[in-house]
């Protein structure tokens, strides 16, 4: 089994992007995460796999700060900051992007307006100048093109009337526009046909596979990992990481199932 870097020599400039230490979280008073620890360095792509009910989506929502997901123990440090002390919008401004398994429909609010306001709110939070309308549209068109999403869709209300595949591609377009440091992608592959899966996978690589960025892919299946090759694969079960390995662990899981690998 491939080694997993748990510590970095203190004299190097730390490339650590995210440190989750002994995280405990509850949903409606029910413990879901029970001592989860994970370190992600800049430049790395990690995949978290696991059976239904393992706590995969809870991990994503807890890191994103969704109301109702209560942290009862442990710590999360993101890019040197205490992530858990930040409000959800502050986490976004700090460079965290959460890709939703079920992107929410917001009737009446156009995608363009929503994304421009979001991006400029993030820029404001970081003390940067807002992006002009023209510059924003150019950026939005580029990113939509990358994900092969018709740029006219960005004029439509957020996710309303989008097919499952369009919603997921639109999530990736949002990621491209917002340009985060760390993307947590919750089952981005669910609901995608083979072609859309390839487009999304290539989009993730184009946007996020850079030395100063990192990705945490939450997935049930190996198939997305054919396009986005992870550096590390972790198995989440019972609210904690029970096994870690390289890309080959995902293949092993695919062949033997969770029960086989965890036995």
């Amino acid at each position: 089994m491939a080694g997993f870097p748990r510590s970095i020599p203190f004299f190097t400039k730390s490339p650590i992007m995210l440190t989750i230490d002994n995280l405990h979280a509850t949903v409606a008073d029910k413990p879901i995460l029970k001592g989860l620890s994970l370190t992600i360095n800049a430049g790395e792509i990690h995949a978290i796999m696991g059976p239904n009910g393992a706590g995969k989506s809870t991990l994503g929502y807890t890191l994103g700060g969704r109301p109702g997901y209560e942290v009862t123990g442990g710590s999360v440090t993101f890019d040197g900051q205490d992530l858990l002390a930040l409000e959800p919008h502050e986490r976004a401004a700090a460079g965290l992007f959460l890709g939703f398994q079920y992107p929410v429909e917001i009737p009446g609010v156009s995608m363009v307006q929503f994304l421009r306001e979001s991006l400029n709110a993030q820029r404001k939070g970081r003390g940067e100048e807002p992006l002009s309308g023209g510059a924003f549209l150019k950026l939005a068109r580029e990113q939509a093109g990358l994900l092969k999403l018709d740029a006219d869709m960005l004029k439509r209300p957020v996710n309303v009337g989008f097919s499952g595949g369009e919603k997921k591609r639109a999530e990736m377009v949002q990621m491209g526009i917002l340009d985060p440091k760390l993307a947590i992608l919750d089952e981005t592959d669910s609901g995608l046909d083979i072609d859309a899966l390839k487009v999304c996978g290539e989009g993730i690589n184009a946007i996020m596979r850079r030395p100063d960025k990192a990705v945490l892919l939450i997935t049930h299946y190996q198939r997305l990992l054919d396009y986005v090759k992870p550096d590390f694969v972790h198995v989440l079960a019972g609210g904690r990481i029970v096994r870690s390995g390289g890309a080959d662990l995902a293949l092993e899981l695919e062949q033997q199932g969770y029960e086989g690998v965890l036995a």
């Binding site: 959800p88 919008h89 976004a92 959460l98 917001i106 609010v109």
Partner: protein, 242 residues
């Protein structure tokens, strides 16, 4: 001088009588749209104190009127509209009420289809915060013989705080056969999943709420001649609440 109405008077059941007394009696404003003509009116109430408007509208045969109202009075704001529609007339009413603090805003409509084939559409959207109250009392009357009537009322309210309230009472009085009258009414709060989704993209809570509420209110002003002016004024009123 006309006596002040009382709470027993159905159209006044939620009124703020102390405020009303300061402006009573209220002069009625008549609007007549002649047969075959089209007209558009806009009413914006955003002042402090008490503002009460009373419109009596007569639409001739085939006449069209589109009436848009923003009631964001900071005190007591009331708009009463009585409309009589002749054969084939069309009345489009789009209204938004926005209030916070302990303000009270209300819209009372009586739309009377007096002859066949007239169309009425009412869309009312309310956003209430603090301890504010928003009321809509809307009666659609279809007179005997007014066959082919097509009437619709869509009433929705968003409550932003626990102390806020909204009263909505769409009412139908139908004395003719072969008519189409629909009404829908909902009172709720902002979708929490939507708010988290917007926050996860970097929008602070107030901005996320403003964006969703702006979209909600926009339904009332869609297609208005001065949609932009109404939207801007509604947004300014929303920003005061958030």
């Amino acid at each position: 001088m006309t006596a002040l109405p009382t709470r027993h008077d159905e159209a006044w059941r939620y009124a703020d009588f102390a405020a009303l007394a300061t402006v009573w009696p209220v002069a009625q404003q008549a609007i007549v749209v002649d047969a075959g003509e089209s007209a558009a009116h806009t009413l914006v109430l955003t002042g402090a104190g008490t503002e009460v408007r009373d419109l009596a509208i007569t639409l001739g045969e085939g006449a069209h009127l589109s009436l848009h109202v923003l009631n964001a009075a900071r005190g007591y704001g009331r708009v009463a509209v009585r409309v009589a529609l002749a054969r084939g007339a069309q009345f489009h009413f789009g209204a938004a009420q926005v209030a916070g603090a302990d303000h009270r805003v209300e819209i009372v409509t009586e739309v009377v289809h007096t002859a066949p084939d007239a169309i009425s559409r009412q869309i009312v959207r309310q956003v209430m915060a603090g301890r504010a109250t928003g009321n809509y009392l809307g009666r659609v009357v279809v007179d005997r013989g007014a066959v082919g009537t097509d009437g619709e009322q869509s009433i929705r309210a968003m409550l932003l705080d626990r102390g806020a309230s909204a009263n909505a009472r769409p009412e139908l009085e139908i004395y003719a056969d072969d008519v189409k009258c629909a009404h829908g009414c909902a009172i709720g709060e902002l979708d929490k999943d939507g708010l988290f989704y917007l926050a996860s993209r970097g929008l602070p809570p107030a901005a996320a709420k403003a964006l969703m509420l702006q979209a909600f209110l926009a339904e009332a002003f869609a297609g208005a001649d001065d949609e932009e002016r109404l939207t801007t004024a509604a947004l300014a009123a929303l920003e005061d609440l958030l």
